[in-house]
């Protein structure tokens, strides 16, 4: 005989304002098996939980239904409360009467009716709940960081600091990411390379860190604590272990007309190359799209000049497999393509550049050795126009709906640096809003306006037209003085929106993590679990989760590391007990379940059974490995006989809910 307790939460007025909680408690008290039905102000509070604990003991409850907020919010809270009173935590069910009732309905009568039905469904389900015990599975003490930008480096360093082995997989030939391309950093204006490269070196030298550069993740299997990852080490045609990074090959390579991606294509590199002087690992890579030897089989200069014999034209992609307990995603961002913005003339006017291109133009290691010159004629620009929100906050298909967050600050930085170095240059910044929340950020922006006399103009640029004399006509609004302006500029800099790296989407599919419509990884909770993905064991670091500046990225990287360390510290983790199980008496052994199982959790064995006619028969039956099963339930539907069922979401439980709702 079931003895069920029902507890209806007011959630202050969140529920009680639209749902007559007393009526819900009253109605549910007549349901099958219910022995006590109460309402309370805040069920999740200490005293609310005590109410459950006392009732469990006093009424010897065999099941608990809490009508409250979403189970995604407090299911664990109430399960723990029940457990502490001696009730199996899986005998607790939640009726979601806040997110899925009181918050969406306005009419008290219909909301109350619905709350009662949701409560009845939960009671009907809990009547069929069975006590479940969670198993345990071991944790592999090694972490994988995907992406070797500042986020990945910081995460790896922190995890290594805690004494765990960690691998960085970076798709480019060197770690460093976008920060390596940046000239100076706001709001302190210190040089990015000066603060980044020591960290890169530290990562390379750390005994716990293994860097797989020029590599990609090609497959992920397993689950929290026990991922098996296949890493594709792309052929770089140079033996990493032999190359000393002397650079002789790059000097002698005859193929010198390869667009240099590190300098945003503003100058050229050779076919065999080291991306930049401080690259880590400092190893050459041969670009097979340009290398004359790999393309035509004629050249071989690099191989001749290499004194250590590191060049290997026959190298192929290698695949290595490694087990990890935790995975941190740090795939970062890229500026969006601007080909849809004809009005800014980016695609055909070389003097219209993106902000990242400007970083390279101003960088001492950039194409002009640090002197700001127009890309078209290498002359010094005297009037520079910055356009903010290019592609950000766009409601159309051209750009991104979100604010890219970092543009206001780096534009202020660029404007300030230019005015500092070249006081004869006039700088205009066209903005929609200037957004500078952050420590010392607004002060920084005000300095650009007040100290450096950067002309900030509220309004957008409508049209950029290159003129015959090499100047650029910028047609824009000045909304505050209600004028249309024409500025005769030498250069235009577009604060381009940023988007997640293209590799993120296929990676999310491999990791079975969620992404939003913009391809940013979705965090487990927007406020309370910002560095974890909803998939256990997968953590998020840096701009792959949303636009971020460097300080924020580093903070999140360390936070993700802390979460990963928390996981790696454990010897084993509790498994989800809501897994599939097969009723051997009904199993046909037909293998349908095995075919749909994404985890390979189902195996078969021949077992001897006593048949109803007293004979014995050997039958092939399925069995589920509960440590591997993740509880999706695909097998339960593939099974025609219904032998396969899912703990916590059994056929009879779901049908009981259906019945309660339809009655």
């Amino acid at each position: 005989m079931q003895r069920i307790g029902v507890f209806v939460c007011h959630c202050g007025t969140n529920i009680a304002a639209t749902v007559d909680v007393k009526a819900v408690a009253e109605a549910l008290s007549h349901e099958q098996g219910v022995v006590i039905s109460q309402d309370y102000q805040y069920m999740c509070s200490e005293s609310g939980q005590d109410l459950i604990k006392n009732a469990v003991k006093e009424h010897k409850l065999t099941g608990v239904v809490v009508c409250s907020c979403s189970p995604r919010m407090h299911e664990n809270t109430f399960r723990k409360a029940a457990a502490s009173a001696g009730l199996n935590p899986y005998l607790v069910e939640i009726a979601n009467i806040r997110e899925q009732c009181s918050w969406i309905h306005k009419d008290i009568a219909s909301a109350t009716d619905k709350a009662i039905i949701l409560g009845k469904a939960a009671v009907a389900k809990v009547n069929l709940n069975t006590p479940l015990t969670a198993g345990e599975s071991p944790v592999v003490k090694r972490a994988l960081v995907i992406g070797g930008g500042i986020a990945g480096i910081q995460t790896a360093l922190d995890i290594a600091e805690a004494g765990f082995d960690v691998d960085i997989v970076e798709k480019e030939p060197t770690i460093g990411g976008k920060m390596a391309q940046i000239d100076k950093t706001f709001p302190t204006l210190d040089c990015a390379a000066c603060i980044l490269t020591p960290k890169m070196v530290e990562a390379a030298q750390n005994e716990h860190i293994t860097i797989h550069s020029f590599s990609e993740v090609s497959a992920v299997k397993g689950f929290v604590g026990n991922f098996t990852v296949t890493i594709k080490k792309k052929a770089r045609f140079v033996d990493e272990t032999k190359c000393t990074g002397c650079g002789l090959c790059t000097e002698k390579c005859p193929m010198k007309k390869v667009p240099n991606e590190f300098n945003m294509g503003l100058d050229n590199r050779t076919a065999v190359y080291i991306p930049f002087a401080q690259a880590v690992p400092k190893v050459a890579t041969i670009d097979p799209n340009y290398c004359l030897m790999l393309k035509n089989g004629k050249c071989g200069v690099c191989s001749k000049v290499c004194s250590v014999g590191a060049i290997d034209y026959k190298q192929t992609d290698k695949f290595i497999e490694q087990k990890y307990g935790a995975i941190v995603v740090a795939t970062g961002f890229n500026p969006i393509k601007l080909d849809k913005y004809d009005e800014f003339a980016y695609s055909y006017c070389p003097d219209v550049v993106t902000s990242l291109e400007l970083e390279r133009l101003m960088n001492a290691a950039g194409p002009n050795g640090g002197t700001l010159l127009r890309p078209s004629d290498k002359t010094h620009p005297h009037t520079i126009v910055f356009v903010q929100c290019v592609g950000s906050r766009c409601d159309d298909s051209k750009g991104k709906q979100y604010c890219s967050k970092i543009c206001c600050m780096y534009t202020a930085k660029h404007a300030m640096l230019i005015r500092e170095k070249y006081p004869d240059t006039e700088v205009y910044v066209f903005y929609i809003d200037v957004r500078t929340p952050g420590k010392n950020f607004d002060e920084f922006y005000r300095r650009a306006v007040e100290q450096y006399n950067v002309h900030y103009i509220k309004g957008m640029v409508g049209k950029v037209s290159p003129k015959a004399d090499g100047k650029i006509d910028v047609q824009a609004s000045d909304l505050l003085s209600n004028e249309q302006l024409h500025i005769n500029a030498d250069m235009v800099v577009l604060a381009t929106a940023i988007e997640p790296d293209k590799s993120a989407r296929p990676l999310a599919t491999m990791l079975t993590t969620q992404m939003d419509t913009n391809d940013f990884f979705t965090e487990a909770h927007p406020k309370l679990r910002p560095v974890e993905s909803a998939t256990a064991g997968i953590f998020l670091s840096g701009a792959c989760q949303g636009p971020k500046d460097i300080p924020e990225t580093v903070a999140q990287a360390s936070a993700a590391a802390a979460k990963a360390i928390g996981l790696l510290c454990k010897n084993s983790i509790t498994c989800n007990p809501c897994v599939a199980h097969s009723n051997e008496l009904m199993c046909n052994g037909c293998s349908a379940c095995e075919k749909v199982c994404p985890y390979g959790a189902i195996t078969y064995q021949d077992k001897e059974f006593r048949m109803p006619d007293r004979t014995t028969a050997i039958r092939r039956v399925a069995s589920v490995n509960p440590a591997v099963c993740q509880g999706c339930g695909a097998c339960t539907v593939a099974c025609p006989s219904g032998a396969m069922d899912l703990n916590g979401f059994s056929n009879s439980q779901i049908m009981a809910e259906v019945d309660a709702i339809c009655k």
Partner: protein, 146 residues
């Protein structure tokens, strides 16, 4: 067909725990309205939805059944919703073949971030079912409430 203005359809929504149930929560968090006719049943994955559940709902007097899952490719369990898509396509096709009104059944992909889409889908679906009126073709007369 006669449309009864006061007819309130019973709608059962199966939502996967990882995307659509969270999407439904989000539409609540954002206070987006959809009709109280919609009652949600939480399942771990849309692939947990057995056609028997859908038929059972109709048998017991549901007027519409909707299944919501993660977008294809986003399944928490990698492949669950791909199986759902095939199974449910075939089942809906069969119901259609038996002459059951098409708008009583639906499958939608709603992500955890699509609270607004969830509310839109539910508003639209409820309206469609309301137009169809009471489910008579699949109801089990013995299960009808008095």
């Amino acid at each position: 067909m006669q449309v009864n203005e006061n007819f309130e359809p019973v709608i059962v929504a199966f939502c996967c725990n990882w995307c659509s149930y969270a999407g439904a929560d989000l539409s609540g968090t954002n206070r987006l309205n959809y009709p109280a006719n919609v009652k949600i049943i939480r399942v771990p994955c849309s692939c947990r939805v057995n056609p028997m559940f859908i038929l059972r709902a109709f048998q017991k007097g549901a007027d519409g059944v909707i299944i919501c899952g993660c977008h294809p490719g986003d399944c928490h369990y990698t492949s669950g919703n791909y199986f759902t898509r095939r199974r449910i396509t075939l089942l809906y096709s069969m119901l259609d073949f038996l002459g059951i009104e098409r708008n009583r059944t639906r499958l939608e992909w709603v992500s955890a971030a699509e609270g607004a889409k969830f509310a839109d889908v539910m508003n639209q679906f409820t309206e469609d079912v309301r137009k169809l009126g009471k489910n008579r073709r699949l109801e089990d007369l013995r299960c009808r409430k008095q």
